[in-house]
Each structure stands twice: as C-alpha cells, then as structure tokens.
Symmetry: none
Subunit: 206 residues, 4 copies
DNA sequence: GATGAATGAGGATTCATTCAT
DNA sequence: AATGAATGAATCCTCATTCAT
C-alpha cells in the first residue's frame, strides 16, 4: 500500500523517538525501555525492528547524517566563490533547523570518541573537510596559511554545529531558545557576517 | 567519619580519574567501578571520599570550572580593547591546554542539558556572557547589531570549546592531534586572525 | 485449523530439525526460533504444526522411541537363547545407527529426570526391562543372582546407549567418530564378545 | 578462622547448590536466580564470587572432576593385574557414591558436546583412556583385538557412569533407588563379575 | 500455511549503594 | 581508609506464545 514495503510506520516512529532520546541523553544514558515506552511499545518489541541497541543507534545516526552528506555533495557540485559560501551557510542552517537533533548526536559521538565515530569521521566529516580543503586551495583568503586551512574548516563546523548542539546550555543563559526560528535567522546573519569579514579575498585576487 | 575527610592524595586521584572518565564517556557511561578501578580502589572505597556518584560528578565539575571562572574574572578586571581580546584568547587557550578534559565535560553537560547544567549556566557561562555583553556595549565592531551580541559571544565559545571538545573527531579526520602543542598554537593563531577580521572597529569609531 | 493438520513434509522437517537440536542441546538449551530457522521457517509457523514447545518435544520423543519399542517387541516375540541375544544386539545397534539422535534424547531425559521421563520410563524402558527379566528368569547365566537381574539389564542399556549418547565425548578422546560405520561394527563385535563372556550358561544347564 | 582465607563458606555453598542444579537440569536449564535462591542469596550476589554463569559452571566442573582425576592417577600408580581391576572398580564406585552429581555433570557435557567438553575430554578422559590402553597393551584378555581396546575402556566408562547418571530413569523403572547404598553394593558386585567374565586371561597367557 | 509484530516473563549481568569488618 | 559481600533496581536481550493479516 505504501511505496515502501514492511511496516515503516512503527520503525520510523522508533527511529524518531530514539533520535530524540539519544540526542538529549547520549547512548549510554538512553535505555531501550525508555525508547519503547515513548514509542508506545514494550522493550521487547524493539527487537522486532532492530537487532539491538547498537543497531538502532547506528540506524538513527545513518538516517540523520545521510541527508546531510547528500546536501553537502550537492552544494559541492555548485560552483564556488563568495556567493557559494553564503549559499552553503544558509542551506546547512536550514537543513539543521529541520533536524535539530542531529548536531547533538554528532557532538555526542565526537566528544565521546565512540566506536561509531570512525564511521562518522570517515563517512561524513572527512569528505566534507576535503571538499573544503580543495575549495580553499583553489583560492582562499590571503590571511590563511595552507596549514591553517583544516582548522578554519573545523572552526566553521564548530560555529554551525555548536549553535545547535549547545542550545540547551544557551537556552539557560539567554532567556531565548537558540532554536527558535527568529534566533536561527539571526545566527545565520551572524555567520554570514563572519564569513564576509574573514573571507575577504586578498587584494591581489581582485 | 565525615565523607569530606580522607587523604587528600586519594581524593585528588579519584577526581583526576573521574574527570578523565566523565569527560570521555559522559556521566551515564561512566561507572563507579570503572573510576575506582582506574584509581586502584574498590567501588565501595569511593564512598569514603564522596557521598555518591552525583556528588563526585559535581566535585569534578566544580574543580574544573572554578579556575576557569577565576581566570575569566581576572581577565575581566583588566581593561578591554583590541589587545585585551588577544590576551583573553591566549589565556583561555593556554588554560584549557592544561585541562583538556574540561571542555568535554562542559560539552557533555551542555548537550545533555543535564540537571547540573543550570549550575554551569548560571555559575559560569552567564557571568561570562554578561561580561562580554558589557564589553561589547561599551564598544563593539560596527558590523554587529546589539541583538547579535549574545550570538557573537556564544560563537566564540563554540570556537574555543569546540576545538578541544571535538578533538576526538578531528583526530580521526586530520591525521594530527588537535591537542598537540603545535596545533594548539596554530589554532590560537587562527582564532586571533578571526578576532582581527571580525573585530575591526568601524572606521567611524576611529 | 487443527494444529494436527498441515503439509506432512513440513511437519516432518520440523521434527527432524527439532530432534537433532533437542538431542544435542537438550530441551532447555533449544529455542523454538532455532528450530524454526533451521527448518527454514519463522518461530510463529511452528505453531501451525505443534501446539507448543512441549508438544513438539513429546512428538519428537514419541516418533523416535516408538520404533524402538516396536523393535524390542518384535525381538521379544522371537524365541530366546544365545542366538537371540546376538540378534537383539545386532538389531538394536543397527536401528540406533540409523537414528543416532535417539540415544542422546533418551539420555537427556534420563539424566535430567525431566517431566517426560515417566512416560519414557513407563512406556518404553519398563516393558523392555520386564521382557528381559522374564527372559532371565526363564534361564539366566548361573553367575547372576535374581536380585542382580535388573542391574544386568540396565548395564546392557548403558553399554548400548552410552556408545551413541556419549559419542561427542569420545570423538574428542579418540580421534575417530564412534558413529562411523566401521566403529559401530567394531563396537557390535565388542558387545557380542561381552555377551558371550558374561552370558555363558552355567555348566549345570548344559 | 578457617584454614582457607576469604569466605569459603558462601563460595562453597554456591558451588554445592550449583553442582546439584547443573547436574539435574543441565547448564541451559539452570538459572542464576535459582542457584542464588537455593543458596539463600540474590542473583547479583553470585557475581561477588564468580565472574558469571560460565565461570561458575567451570568451577563446579573442576571441583568435581579434579578429585576423580587424582583418584585415577593414584590407582594408576599401583601395580596392575586382576586384583587391580577389582580395586579400581571398588574405588571408583565408592568415590562416585560420595559425589553422585558428578556423573550427571559429565554426561551433560558429554551428550551436549558443550564447549567445555574439550577440557573434560583432554583433562580427564583422555589420560584415563590412555592409562587403560597402556595397561591393556601390557596384557589384555585374549579375546580383545588391539583395535577394540578403546571401545572396551569406553564400555567400562559407560557401565560405571551410566549407573549413576541414569539413576533418575531407573529409579522410575525399578522401584528402588540405584544410588541407595545397597544397590550400589549390588551394582559393584555385578561389575566385578563382568570384569571376571570378560577379563579372564587367555589360557595361553598362563 | 506462513509471517511480522507485539508482549509478559524471565534470562544474565551491571550498577550504585550499604554495611560489617 | 579500604574492602568483601550483599542487594534492589535497572540494564540489554531472549523466549515462548499469540494474533491479525
């Protein structure tokens, strides 16, 4: 009946719930029972859909990261230049705004150095970094030395992911929700300004 | 008799071990037994020094964050200006280089939105942000709107903490250790350049 | 609709698989899922053919033991004497050679003292023992006292079943498979010699 | 207080209980909870004494089999001959009478072909069989061919272990307990007679 | 006749914690 | 100050079974 076979409804519901819980409590802090309960199931039922906690976690990770990889690849295929930088920032911010759990998932993995991180690192971040490196080698702002390129790229990742991942903290500090549409828009503006300030092509270029 | 007494040496050893484990596995992922084992003790012995896991965790957090708060306060008392920005970046980077677990601890708390985060938020980040706000209000680069000030400050936090906290990820992506002295120095240079680029006082100011 | 119906082929396949698994892992150590998987089915499907695990187990037991009972009865109807002893040993050895799981099933039941053992005991072993007793009473080797008759019969059961049931052990000890045709033949010869040695009619008889 | 350090009492109590349960229900059929309950403990407490179910099982097996190995070695050091055969049978029967769970444990392992069987096979049965083989090679009854020696030895194992291990079955068949002292004595007599009948040195030997 | 999905019960094991020693 | 032993609660997961499809 549905274009997909199986019973995608339940499976997806589990993935949704698991994504939210893994994102906010981490892998170790999330119990199968909690996931099941939130999905309206018994813990045992989860095993009809996933082989185990680890399998479920990987499924959550992949479902979340895959579209981000795809997005980055699509963006990479567009031509570069200053306009492109703006487009990338806008696109990524909009994408993450719709999947606000993803950055926290990535942060958990990254900070923990979990066993899945190799997958994340090699599958997603490395290609992304390498795209960025290639782009910068073709023409980076004059202020950056080549050995600083990776750090510049990492810094952009910190800026973008950090805003989402550390939202719980800053929600307590500011009295506003960093994930509210208005603040996301404002943060995008801030990032664009940073891009302009730091990305000014060297006078030689012009 | 009081759980606060005990050989300071052992207590500190426990704190050291707990800090490392909490930082790399998070609160839920770290067991009292693991901490005890790594400290050459039995789990039961930990209770001679701390009232429980939670108490130990708070102790770790406070021991780690307190010096950072002090550092920020000392820096705040110095006068501002462009030179100050550079001094702050250098000082914080150097401080964190000596306590590399701290950023991961903070990230865990921040991402998790744990029950201790209020403490962290109110005790450390809020004053820091308010110092920054005050500073910016006294004279910020012209490109920033007042409602962007908090986001700019948060962005700096992302840039600095992110480099340390996400080191496990980027260690896998680059083939270098982000926490190696040489990369820390390089990252400091990058941050200084970003500060210069984005922080340029508007021509009108001068 | 009735759980007794169904394609006989599938039912027999399940019985075959279950027999092998129950024999090598015991009742408690064998899961319905394992049986189903080995039979190319899902656990749920087993319930189309058997009422439950217990029912399946009993079916396996009965299917295996029934022919053995029949064999013993047929042998009992033949007249006794030394020739008969040889015939019994040969017949039983040949029968078990074709159903090598059976002795292990019986051993499991016997050692466990499981709830099904009463069935086995009363349904199969007891008549067999009583046949033997009757036979011995009609004329046993002079060396056996009447109160030893049951033990002698039990000993024969140990000798014959043991060779099959403990094959996994002796396969490890010898470097040969006790169930290989050649060793079965050799074991038969050994048993026949034991029968001759111990069964010699007293000189008075002759 | 006790000649052994530690708290041997609880540990031994657990071993006793586990031995009985493993013997009568097998490894898979015995739960840690049951063992604990029978020992007056909680399941969690078992893990203060053993690393896990498997470890406990191995401990039970070793504690039971070790003395049997020692007995066999002592017997092997005595000189052989017909008198020795009688001594061995008597000694083993008496030993097993005092540890009636052991044969069932061995049978479970042997029939299951469990993962521990290699240990049992190599550690205990193989040396025993090899002792027997050496003995037979020095002078066996004329009726046995050399290639039958292993089977003869195995047959003795079946006769002796079988009486103990299959006791639950024959308790149901006879109306007597095969492990009752009187029946053990009777079984010993039967075995001795079998030994005499089958072991008669060939006239040529004399 | 087969199965995917659901589940209550129970499996082994871990965990934080307590307490007597 | 340290620990061995004990434990209730919770962990992940398996199991036998049911039922709608």
């Amino acid at each position: 009946m549905s274009p997909e076979s199986g019973t995608p409804i339940t499976r997806d519901r589990i993935l949704d719930v698991a994504e939210a819980l893994f994102a906010s409590r981490g892998f170790a802090g999330t119990s199968m029972r909690d996931i099941a309960a939130e999905a309206g199931l018994t813990a045992a039922s989860l095993y009809n859909h996933f082989e185990g906690k680890d399998d479920l976690y990987v499924a959550v990770l992949q479902r979340g990261i895959r579209p981000l990889i795809d997005l980055m690849q699509r963006l990479a295929e567009s031509e570069g230049g200053d306009a492109a930088t703006e487009a990338v920032i806008r696109a990524v911010m909009e994408h993450l705004a719709r999947r606000p759990h993803l950055p926290r998932l990535i942060h958990h993995e990254a900070v923990t150095g979990g066993s899945h991180i190799a997958r994340v690192a090699r599958g997603w971040v490395r290609p992304l970094v390498e795209q960025g490196l290639a782009e910068m080698k073709r023409g980076a702002p004059a202020q950056w030395q080549p050995d600083e390129y990776p750090l510049v790229i990492a810094s952009w990742i910190h800026l973008i992911l950090g805003h989402f991942a550390l939202a719980p903290l800053f929600r307590d500090v500011f009295d506003e929700d960093p994930l509210a549409p208005e603040l996301l828009e404002r943060q995008t503006r801030v990032l664009l300004k940073i891009a302009q300030s730091t990305g000014a092509r060297s006078p030689v270029d012009e």
